[in-house]
């Protein structure tokens, strides 16, 4: 019997007062950010360790190391892609070159996703109403959430640093403890800045999706700026206007320059302060950027769930296509000059980086691997959007009307697949355009083939995501981004060569031929497409027989 109210009150009172609201928000966000920070810190650590170890295994002699440094140390196009590579004859120098750009970008993506999720996402779900209605103010709540995010970044750093320092103890690697700590600090610096950037966009935008997209645009611009700065076209000063550029200027391991921490720290503090300030100036649930409340109705593209999905997602999807287009154009543009220095023994390096073939094509093989990762993120976004329709409660409106689950999910699958195919075609076409300007002599069909070649791996991500959606809908985000993260990790680590092919095969990118360096492997592509479609069908089947589930 729960009928004695006196007992209830007595039981509840201590728990209500013991935990002061001052720390509730901070500890909630610290816990959430800390969990994913630990996971990604581990991934960072493994990636760094594997780069270092792979170098010691591939380049055993000083001669081979010198040859590597001679070929790449001064190649502007390679430094535009991966950042400068001043000391390729050392383990540390190679590690910086091989892994730092990837980690900087991954860190930034982690930062912006985590902070928009824990700030704007929580608010979108109405969880802030309760907290802010209590004794804490909006500003204080935001400040605490940011403190919690900071704790998550510390966990990320600790995980990465631990593994790096441990690896550095090896005789062959020999990283000093202090420089290993400084290197991992640099690798986490983009994460910290993009946590702050995400905090600001969370105040500016009206939804979490918008906030994350806005922060992603900042990331794209800052990558493009540093790419131009490093391309050797006399614009090196641009490095100082790009957050990724500041991290590069830290020059960990090779020529440490802690002074570059100043803009990084200042940027973070100013942005975090701005976020807290903006939070106090708006209402819970609203945004700073004016959003029209009154609007002329446009009744186009509202004929059914599929068309509505196209209409509601179009700006996000076009954003992704544009990001891929710009990256492809830049890659195409620099490929020739990067490829000219590739010759003889150096060719082996690119093989270890994931590409075979020669010159321009070999470089583009690596570039297309990066485009494949981008396309994988597009696939992941499509799956989480499908799940969001269910958890957000809008799917019910279709399913209580004469729309079957099968036709709804089928329509969404076809939309997602079309988005991926267009992404591949955009990648191929724009790379061709960039390359054509430089008279690289690559044909449009070859590069279109390389573009279409990007689609099958992302079809696997799409299919596995739909399977998760059908079987365990609440796990969709973890499954999709877990698979993507794992696949990236395996490709990075795969350079060692000592990894079992069973492990390699679990990466969706491993079976993808590095076109245009080699011709696309259509047999493997058919298998991947088949896996993608089959898993999606199983997911759809499971979805028909389960309950609809909210958050």
């Amino acid at each position: 019997m729960a009928a004695d109210p006196a007992v209830l009150v007595r039981d509840n009172e201590p728990t209500l007062t013991r935990r002061s609201p001052i720390t509730v928000v901070a500890s909630r966000s610290a816990r959430a950010a800390g969990r994913s920070g630990a996971l990604w810190g581990f991934i960072f650590g493994i990636a760094i360790a594997s780069s270092a170890v792979s170098y010691t295994q591939i380049y055993k002699t000083p001669a081979s190391r010198a040859a590597l440094a001679a070929a790449y140390g001064s190649n502007n196009a390679m430094s535009a892609l991966f950042g400068p590579a001043p000391q390729l004859q050392t383990v540390a120098g190679f590690t910086v070159f091989k892994i730092s750009m990837t980690l900087m970008i991954l860190g930034a993506v982690w930062g912006l996703l985590t902070s928009t999720r824990l700030l704007r996402g929580e608010e979108d779900r109405g969880r802030w109403d309760l907290l802010v209605a209590g004794q804490t103010t909006r500003r204080r709540a935001t400040f605490q959430a940011i403190v919690g995010l900071g704790a998550g970044a510390v966990v990320l750093w600790a995980g990465a640093a631990l593994l790096t320092v441990a690896t550095g103890q090896s005789d062959k690697v020999q990283f000093g403890v202090a420089s290993a700590l400084f290197f991992t600090l640099a690798m986490v610096a983009t994460a910290v800045m993009f946590l702050a950037i995400g905090a600001v966009t969370s105040q500016l935008a009206a939804t979490r999706r918008q906030a994350a997209s806005l922060a992603a645009v900042v990331l794209g611009i800052s990558y493009a700026l540093r790419l131009v700065a490093d391309a050797g076209v006399g614009l090196h000063g641009l490095i100082w206007v790009s957050p990724l550029g500041w991290v590069e200027e830290l020059r960990p391991f090779t020529a440490p320059q802690p002074l570059a921490l100043v803009p990084i720290g200042a940027c973070t503090v100013i942005l975090a302060g701005t976020a807290v300030h903006l939070a106090g100036r708006r209402d819970v649930g609203s945004s700073v950027m004016a959003d029209r409340t009154q609007a002329e109705s446009h009744l186009g593209l509202l004929g059914g769930p599929t068309m509505a999905a196209i209409r509601l997602m179009r700006s996000t999807v076009i954003g992704w296509w544009m990001a891929i287009a710009i990256a492809a154009l830049l890659y195409g543009f620099i490929a020739k000059s990067a490829g000219t220095t590739v010759a003889g023994s150096v060719h082996e390096v690119l093989t270890k980086l994931g590409a075979t073939g020669n010159g321009t094509q070999a470089v583009l093989g690596v570039c297309f691997l990066m485009l494949a990762v981008l396309t994988g993120f597009v696939a992941g976004g499509q799956v989480t959007a499908v799940r969001a329709e269910e958890s957000g409660g809008t799917l019910v409106h279709f399913l209580v009307r004469p729309i079957s689950r099968w036709s709804w999910l089928g329509g969404r699958y076809l939309v997602a697949l079309s988005v991926l195919v267009v992404a591949g075609l955009v990648a191929g076409t724009l790379t061709w355009l960039g390359a054509a300007v430089q008279h690289s002599g690559l044909s449009l069909p070859t590069l279109l083939g390389a573009g279409v070649n990007l689609v099958p791996p992302s079809m696997v991500i799409l299919g596995v995501g739909i399977l998760a959606f059908g079987v365990r809908p609440r796990s969709v985000t973890w499954v999709v981004y877990g698979l993507l993260g794992w696949s990236i990790l395996v490709v990075i680590v795969g350079g060692i060569g000592a990894v079992s092919h069973w492990v390699l095969d679990t990466s969706v990118f491993h079976q993808m031929a590095s076109a245009p360096a080699v011709p696309p492997h259509w047999g493997a592509n058919a298998v991947m497409a088949g896996i993608g479609i089959t898993t999606a069908l199983f997911g759809a089947w499971a979805f028909r027989y389960r309950d609809l589930q909210g958050e």
């Binding site: 009928a3 409340t293 009154q294 109705s297 509202l302 409106h397 209580v400 729309i403 309950d547």
Partner: protein
């Protein structure tokens, strides 16, 4: 073919150890307005989600107009419309766009009636959903359901967030629906609403139907409150059949009567009664009596 609008047979839903719905047998005749009551967590929403095919039953089956709710959802949904207690809509669409989307998905819309409803519910369709208040969002899904004039309306706390004026408009709409022969299945916590609208009422508790019948039938089962004032000695009624809860305050007496009032009337006739008042229980009292028995919810 069944001639029932809704029929469930042994419909059961378990969530792990929690039995949300326990072997429910329920029948609703076409053209009826049925109220569905029960304390929080009784299983009302669970029943409705099973009827709509949004959840899968652990056991048993449900039919709507003779069609299986799980196997033929699209056919079933052609004949019904549903309103939930909370309206999760697309924030970036305007009210008009939302109604257009939902109307086109439903397949058939009475456009005159839609415009009429927009007027009666006083909704500005040019605003974006993001800018609507909670009550206004609720109006959108109410209008979206009513405007297709379905054979069956399934309503789960449909008026949550509406002001009294809009509540009145809603009652008028349901009255019209009944007059047109539409069937209505209404789950609600607002007793006056159910009392005003429903032909029959079912009360659910802990996943089981504890009461089902017309209001008159249910009143019959329950006690009548009788108050009497005497000029002289107050008689001893404790042994009169059917009478209970006797309270005496000076010359005033109050008691509850179950079943026939005849024994009480005979007993009172022996004394000098100067005032007599009898009152049927309201639905709210009936309901509170049901709640009061045993545990409240779970």
């Amino acid at each position: 073919m069944s001639d029932r609008a809704i029929r469930t047979e042994q419909l059961t839903k378990r969530y792990g150890d929690v039995v949300a719905l326990d072997h429910l047998d329920l029948e609703v005749t076409p053209g009826e307005v049925v109220g569905f009551l029960g304390p929080n967590g009784a299983g009302k929403t669970t029943t409705i989600r099973l009827l709509l095919g949004l959840s899968r039953p652990t056991e048993g089956r449900a039919e709507i107009f003779g069609l299986d709710c799980q196997k033929q959802p699209a056919q079933v949904h052609r004949r019904l419309a549903y309103v939930a207690g909370e309206a999760d809509l697309w924030p970036s669409l305007t009210g008009e766009e939302t109604l257009s989307l939902l109307g086109r998905v439903s397949g058939r819309v009475d456009e005159h009636y839609r415009d009429d409803l927009l007027n009666r519910f006083d909704l500005d369709p040019t605003k974006k959903v993001r800018a609507y208040s909670r009550g206004n969002r609720q109006k959108v899904i109410l209008i979206a359901a009513l405007m297709v004039r379905p054979d069956l309306l399934v309503l789960d706390e449909p008026t949550s967030g509406l002001d009294p004026l809009m509540e009145q408009a809603f009652r008028a709409c349901i009255g019209e629906a009944r007059d047109r022969g539409q069937t209505v299945f209404l789950s609600s916590h607002i007793m006056s609403e159910v009392e005003a609208l429903c032909d029959r009422v079912g009360i659910l508790r802990n996943g089981a139907l504890v009461e089902m019948g017309t209001l008159a039938e249910m009143r019959h089962l329950s006690a009548l409150t009788v108050e009497a004032r005497f000029d002289g000695a107050v008689p001893d009624l404790s042994n009169v059949p059917g009478v209970s809860d006797v309270l005496i305050d000076g010359q005033n007496l109050q008691c509850q009567v179950r079943g026939s009032v005849e024994p009480l009337v005979s007993a009172l006739a022996a004394s000098r009664v100067t005032g007599l008042l009898s009152r049927e229980p309201s639905l709210e009292e009936l309901f509170l009596a049901q709640y009061g028995e045993g545990e409240h919810g779970r």
